[in-house]
């Protein structure tokens, strides 16, 4: 690997981490919300489907003991798609389940997010609110679970 490539690595990784975060949100969103966000876009770009939505399996792995050697736990259905938008960006999507429409929208939004002219609007209209809603749902789940926290105490029984 040349030095020039090494210099690029850090910002690219940071970019990948942000994109990964966006892809995680899209994967957890429901189709209706993605469809509505697409319809609401002010300037929808033209796009071409590179790989039509396809459903397959990913073998999910665990680790022995939680942190040991990997083993195969079982498979999960996954649907993926690839699209290219007219400004040249290629969007990918992967999400659990068999929802082809969702895969297509998620790939479109991944492409849009990479396009400088679309990212701002997308962050405002979809990514930001989606992140807040999903975080809100997690916070609610944590709070519900927290209410079941128990303090066990031990008692000495009988006489010694």
């Amino acid at each position: 690997m040349s030095e020039a490539q090494d210099d690029d690595a850090a910002p690219r990784e940071a970019g990948d981490a942000r994109r990964k975060n966006v892809m995680a949100l899209l994967a957890r969103s429901d189709t209706g919300r993605l469809a509505a966000a697409w319809e609401a876009l002010t300037n929808k770009p033209g796009y071409r489907t590179v790989r039509a939505p396809e459903t397959g399996l990913v073998m999910v792995r665990g680790r022995a003991g939680g942190g040991g050697r990997p083993f195969n736990l079982g498979e999960a259905t996954v649907t993926r798609a690839v699209v290219t938008i007219e400004t040249g960006e290629t969007g990918y999507s992967y999400a659990l389940g068999r929802d082809r429409k969702k895969a297509l929208y998620a790939a479109l939004f991944d492409a849009l997010w990479q396009a400088p002219r679309h990212r701002g609007e997308l962050e405002r209209s979809l990514i930001g609110p989606l992140a807040r809603d999903l975080e809100g749902a997690d916070a609610r789940s944590r709070a519900e679970t927290a209410a079941t926290k128990v303090d066990f105490f031990t008692m000495v029984r009988g006489e010694d």
Binding site: R28, V58, M59, G66, G74, Y94, L96, E144, A146, T148
Partner: protein
């Protein structure tokens, strides 16, 4: 030898039509929706996903509906369906330490970082039938109570104990004892089971194994057939992110979350020539909320480690060939239930044989009697 039979097409067609009718039941009763099954029969859905070895709640609900609630039949349907799909690859191993926890308890430490969280459990219920649920329209329960969550991380109990050196640590990389020479992760969906089986294969087999079978085996170890002195170090249930390394992207893509149950069993171990006395461990991990299955799996995983730990073997739960060959309920049901298919030619052959044996036996008896009579006279 099995000789094929022909015919019966019309009867089979009509039987399937009758099955569809019975499946629907009384047509004045509303049809079950998949969503209802996913939401209100969630633990059946979890079991079908775990033993069907396919995570997809909607498919599991469909399988349960189609199977009229017969979970092993539903599991069979899931296994058959998966063969119709291409395999994209293998996920990154789940990080259960980063779980969004819904329930987390430890029977070994009462004060552990992050606390004991009962979550939605049947434990401490009175097991009395609740007739409020029988009322038409059903009961509308109160919304859950909320409380400020503990900001502390929730480390796995086994990671807490680890630093004291009193509990065996996880071995993340393969060692000569723990892995095949090439370090590949074994996959039962690609390679048939062979013996001796390493722990990766054993865990995969147990994760998809029948809950009832593993429960009985786990119970047998508690009752003295391969005693391992277990403690439930930790049980946690919740959601974990799945990531998949996509070649075309060059990074691990998040796919969404799966719900899993993890059980860390901590067991007594006397020590051996190789290892000092310390707690050993058994591990259970299953799709969905399946606490009984995860606990049973952890007990059986630990029992199957007897060879590796140099313990005396002999109990059924320690016999890996016995356990792993009989844990799969789809295989088991296939072999048991095939007995009801036509075996007319087989049976005819045996009938001829038994008739002949009977003739010979009677002949011999007559002869013996005649000989005895002769001797007496």
């Amino acid at each position: 030898m099995y000789v094929a039979v022909k015919g019966g097409e019309k009867a089979i067609r009509n039987a399937h039509r009758l099955l569809a009718h019975e499946r629907r039941g009384d047509r004045t009763v509303p049809d079950l929706t998949l969503r209802q099954i996913v939401e209100q029969m969630a633990l059946s859905v979890a079991r079908v996903m775990a033993e069907g070895s396919l995570y997809d709640m909607e498919l599991a609900a469909l399988a349960i509906k189609q199977a009229r609630g017969d979970l092993i039949e539903a599991i069979f349907l899931m296994r058959a369906y998966r063969t119709t799909l291409p395999r994209f690859g293998y996920s990154e191993p789940l990080e259960t330490a980063k779980m969004l926890v819904r329930r987390r308890i430890s029977a070994t430490y009462k004060d552990l970082p992050g606390g004991q969280l009962l979550g939605p459990t049947f434990d401490y219920t009175h097991r009395l039938l609740d007739f409020k649920l029988a009322a038409e329209g059903g009961e509308v329960p109160e919304m859950p109570e909320l409380a400020q969550p503990d900001p502390q991380e929730m480390p796995r109990v086994t990671d807490l104990l680890g630093h004291e050196g009193l509990i065996e640590p996880d071995v993340p990389e393969h060692t000569p004892e723990s892995a095949d020479e090439d370090g590949e992760v074994g996959d039962l969906t690609r390679e048939p089971l062979s013996f001796p089986a390493e722990r990766d294969i054993r865990l995969q087999n147990l994760a998809r194994g029948d809950e009832g079978f593993l429960l009985a085996l786990g119970y047998s170890t508690q009752r003295g057939f391969g005693r391992t002195h277990p403690f439930a170090g930790e049980i946690r249930i919740g959601e974990v992110e799945v990531e998949f390394f996509a070649e075309e992207l060059g990074f691990a893509v998040p796919l969404g979350r799966v719900s899993v149950t993890e059980c860390q069993m901590i067991n007594q171990f006397q020590g051996s020539a190789k290892a000092p006395p310390q707690f050993s461990r058994g591990y259970g991990l299953v799709f969905g909320q399946g606490e009984r299955k995860a606990m049973s799996m952890a007990l059986v995983d630990r029992a199957l480690r007897s060879r590796e730990l140099g313990e005396e073997q002999g109990a059924p739960a320690q016999d890996e060939e016995f356990v792993l060959s009989h844990s799969d309920n789809v295989q088991a049901t296939g072999f048991v239930e095939h007995l009801k298919l036509p075996h007319y030619v087989d049976f005819q052959a045996e009938l001829v044989l038994v008739r002949q044996m009977r003739r010979e036996w009677e002949e011999r008896n007559r002869q013996d009697k005649a000989d005895a009579q002769e001797a007496a006279e």
